[in-house]
Amino acid sequence: MNTHANPSKLIKGATGDWEVVIGMEIHAQVTSRSKLFSGASTTFGEEPNANVSLVDAAMPGMLPVINEECVAQAVRTGLGLEAKINLRSVFDRKNYFYPDLPQGYQISQYKSPIVGEGVVLVDVSPTEQIEVGIERLHLEQDAGKSLHDQSATDSFVDLNRSGVALMEIVSKPDMRSSDEARAYVSKLRTILRYIGSCDGNMEQGSLRADVNVSVRRPGGPLGTRCEIKNVNSIRFIGQAIEVEARRQIAILEDGGKIDQETRLFDPGRGETRSMRSKEEAHDYRYFPDPDLLPLEFDQGYVDRLAAELPELPDAKKARFIKDYGLPPYDAGVLVADKETADYFEAAVQHGDARRDAKLVANWITGDVAAFANSIGLSVAQTHIKPAQVAGIVDLISDGTISGKIAKDLLAIIVGEEKDGDPRAIVEARGMKQVTDAGAIAGAVDAIIAANPDKVAQAQAKPSMLGWFVGQVMKETGGKANPQAVNELLKAKLGI
């Protein structure tokens, strides 16, 4: 754990530096067809109370029966977090009254969760990686939804979400800046998506973060924390931490003290506010749910799930570095999205050829990603095929086109020739670069002859060479091989 405060992460206050300490509880909706303890569908956006069984509505005499897939998803996720899988765990009841909690209790795991301690490696920047400890992961039920804006006097309750499986993933307080917190959530989401245990869709509420924030003097004892509930985007997580840390620092520097409480982030106002300040302390009266036996499985079950697990981002990144010689940063960017990583590999290996992986990565994370971004898609969702990227890279590598022409080529593929084969397009449109020394020499000679003053300048100041290169390229319609132009110019100008 970070025992020594990193000076670059500290927040400057009026009375000195402060360190922010962040831990997170992430509620991730388990990907499953039916609910954790009932056979009702988990589909989003149905008519009110359509996806509700008698169990979800807590009708008298109804009993929970656990969904085996939700258990498997929790174990897979635990494995992805390199965490301890508990072969025996227990479901507890968390008792409280709320209209969207039909049983009057939430079935959760309190004392004995299905997954224990683990760790997540988080790339905060191209040069900084941190470890965030996982405290635990447990399975629990989601609550229903109360709508408060339908009537002046009433709230409307819809139980469609009631009983949907959630994984609550609790981190250790290992993050020291909003950047680290954002990077942690991104990485966690990547892992969940690789495993397929949660779609990570924050807008639809499939991934919700409760962020615990406290501040302290660097290296000092932990401060009192506030929990910011249900922050629903990575950007807001960053903003919420920033404003909450500053709020706490202001109070402390004023000689005040922090009340441990639950707060809500208001993105519109850019502030956090107390949620239930007046409410009495909760007493959830946890006890083991007598309707459910302990959840037990053997190591063989865990091993089978482990064997079926897909390659996870850290392993994939290491492989990209080792097998393709990619720089760690490029590898990290590619593996952040599994489809992008697959796209990259398909492009590198297209047609059984092995092409310049770094060049492929550059194109994917550069021009192709920029295009995808501009239309709100991911790289793999665009119509541009890995084979087309491979074709472009091949054309550059074998000297058929220059990098600049390649950009024009991509524009054609984006535009008029969506399914076009890059090599065929280059042929048909005469985009091949000129490598013929004679043709280039002609253009070079003509430019030198027409610009004697510049020749003199260039001989005094070799950086003028670029001007000549530009002129030659213009003359040849951009098709001259820049390497050849360079060499010829140097020779003829004697620099």
Binding site: M62, F97, G104
Partner: protein
């Protein structure tokens, strides 16, 4: 000639199959008996139309030769079992008017086997009570009276409606539930047979929950054989209840009449309480003699944690109940008392909807689970359960096949006589039965004699987990050995 309603279930079934009587006629006879017995208040809801329709279907199946094991047999259903399209109240104001869209697994099993529903039987509210006086719909009055007295007596509880209805010949058998003695104690008070099977033997799905880790469904009937017939239909694994156990259901009736020669019957010394009435003591000794005479070996055993069972029960059961009854909040079903805000609505609804005893148990259960008390009360009580179970396991490991005890510490008492000043006085009724629930074991109460006042007294047999057959075999010995006692004349009709 005996009336139709006086037949045993086994005899009625035979008469139906032999077409000596039609299911519709049998149902009509029971409906008439029920109408005449309203003074007992055994039913919360009579369903004569349902009964006649089901009976007509039974007659058709009998005619086609497709009779099920309970074809045409009219039964009463404890109003803790959800019945599709028929009001289910748990004898509570908070569920008054609640009509489930679903049928409990156990009652569905009975209908599958051809049984006919006469109606929903009264009980203590949410099955919390030992006298059937906590029902929102009024107390059930026992058909029994003390010799020379017409004072109203309790039938026991919580399955008091079931026991009274079966004893008074209002039905051939009834479903019941037992959380701390709620089948066996009313059976003992009314001279009927009641078995609480092993926890997990019957599905709890669709039965209003009181204390999930203790609740178990079972039958009350007039004979050991009748109880065996009913249990076979009621029992079985249910995928909708993961605490129900996936074991084949034996033919319990085949165990009735099986020899108990060579069986080892344990007599636990801890059940010999200080101040135990002499008539209970002698009933117990009498039972020992009968079993011995049938070839069983009697051994003294020790169940050292017995005395802690009832106190531990009064932690575990209310704790679970406080949570199980949280769903009665006025939002999705049942009573709602308007309030100035949501919390006020909850509090007013639950104050008005639950009776005194239920409120008391919810409060004690809430307290023992609350922060700072959980370990001292709940966890400790669950550890004591482990010790209680261990006592039984040691006895069974030493070769004991069944354990014989009294079923109750006394005969039935008068309405209003107990528990008004001190709730614990009422709780002591379950002192002999509650250990069985705490350990999850099967227990049967069988009539064995009468008190000095002419009231029925019962003995209890406790068996190994899932060995209900041994209990039926041994109970049959007691039933056959005990003097026949007849019900008082039908003062209620």
């Amino acid at each position: 000639m005996t009336e139709l309603t006086d037949l045993s279930l086994a005899d009625a079934r035979r008469a139906l199959l032999n077409k000596e009587v039609s299911a519709v006629d049998l149902a009509k006879a029971q409906i008439a008996a029920i109408e005449q017995a309203r003074a007992l208040n055994a039913f919360i809801k009579e369903t004569p139309e349902v009964a006649l329709a089901m009976a007509a279907d039974s007659d058709a199946r009998i005619a086609r030769g497709e009779a099920g094991p309970l074809e045409g047999v009219p039964l009463g259903i404890k109003d803790l079992y959800c019945t599709a399209g028929v009001q289910t109240t748990a004898a509570s104001h908070i569920l008054e008017g609640f009509t489930p869209a679903y049928e409990s697994t156990v009652s569905a099993n009975l209908w599958r086997d051809g049984a006919v529903m006469l109606g929903k039987l009264n009980l203590d509210e949410f099955a919390m009570g030992s006298s059937n006086e906590t029902s929102y719909f009024g107390p059930v009055i026992s058909p029994w009276r003390r010799v020379g007295s017409d004072a109203a007596l309790v039938p026991g509880g919580s399955s008091g409606g079931s026991a009274a209805a079966v004893a008074a010949r209002l039905c051939f058998g009834a479903t019941a539930t037992d959380t701390g003695g709620s089948i066996r104690q009313p059976a003992a008070f009314t001279g009927t047979v009641g078995i609480k099977p092993t926890y997990g033997r019957c599905s709890r799905w669709g039965i209003v929950a009181f204390a999930s880790s203790l609740d178990q469904a079972g039958p009350i009937a007039r004979t050991v054989r009748d109880a065996a017939i009913l249990l076979r239909s009621m029992a079985g694994h249910d995928p909708k209840d993961t605490t129900s156990v996936d074991l084949p259901v034996p033919d319990y009736e085949a165990a009735v009449g099986r020899s108990i020669k060579g069986m080892k019957i344990g007599i636990p010394k801890e059940y010999r309480l200080d101040g135990m009435p002499a008539e209970i003591e002698s009933l117990w000794s009498q039972g020992v003699e009968w079993l011995k005479a049938a070839g069983a070996t009697i051994v003294d055993i020790s169940l050292p944690h017995t005395r802690y069972a009832l106190p531990a029960y009064y932690i575990v059961a209310p704790a679970e109940a406080s949570s199980n009854l949280a769903r009665y909040d006025g939002v999705r079903f049942g009573l709602r008392v308007p309030g100035k805000d949501i919390a006020d609505m909850y509090e007013s609804t639950r104050a008005a909807g639950f009776g005194k005893e239920v409120r008391r148990r919810i409060l004690i259960g809430t307290y023992v689970l609350s922060a700072g008390y959980y370990d001292a009360y709940y966890v400790r009580a669950q550890k004591i359960r482990t010790l209680i179970k261990g006592d039984f396991e040691s006895a069974f490991a030493a070769g004991v096949d069944a354990i014989l005890t009294p079923a109750t510490p006394s005969a039935a008492f008068g309405v209003g006589e107990k528990g008004s000043a001190d709730p614990v006085e009422m709780y002591l009724n379950d002192i002999f039965t509650v250990t069985v629930n705490m350990a999850g074991l099967p227990g049967i109460a069988v009539p064995a004699g009468t008190s000095s006042e002419g009231l029925p007294l019962g003995l209890q047999l406790i068996g190994r987990a899932f060995d209900e057959e041994t209990l039926f075999a041994a109970a049959e010995v007691i039933e056959q050995s005990a003097p026949k006692v007849s019900l008082p004349a039908r003062w209620w009709a």
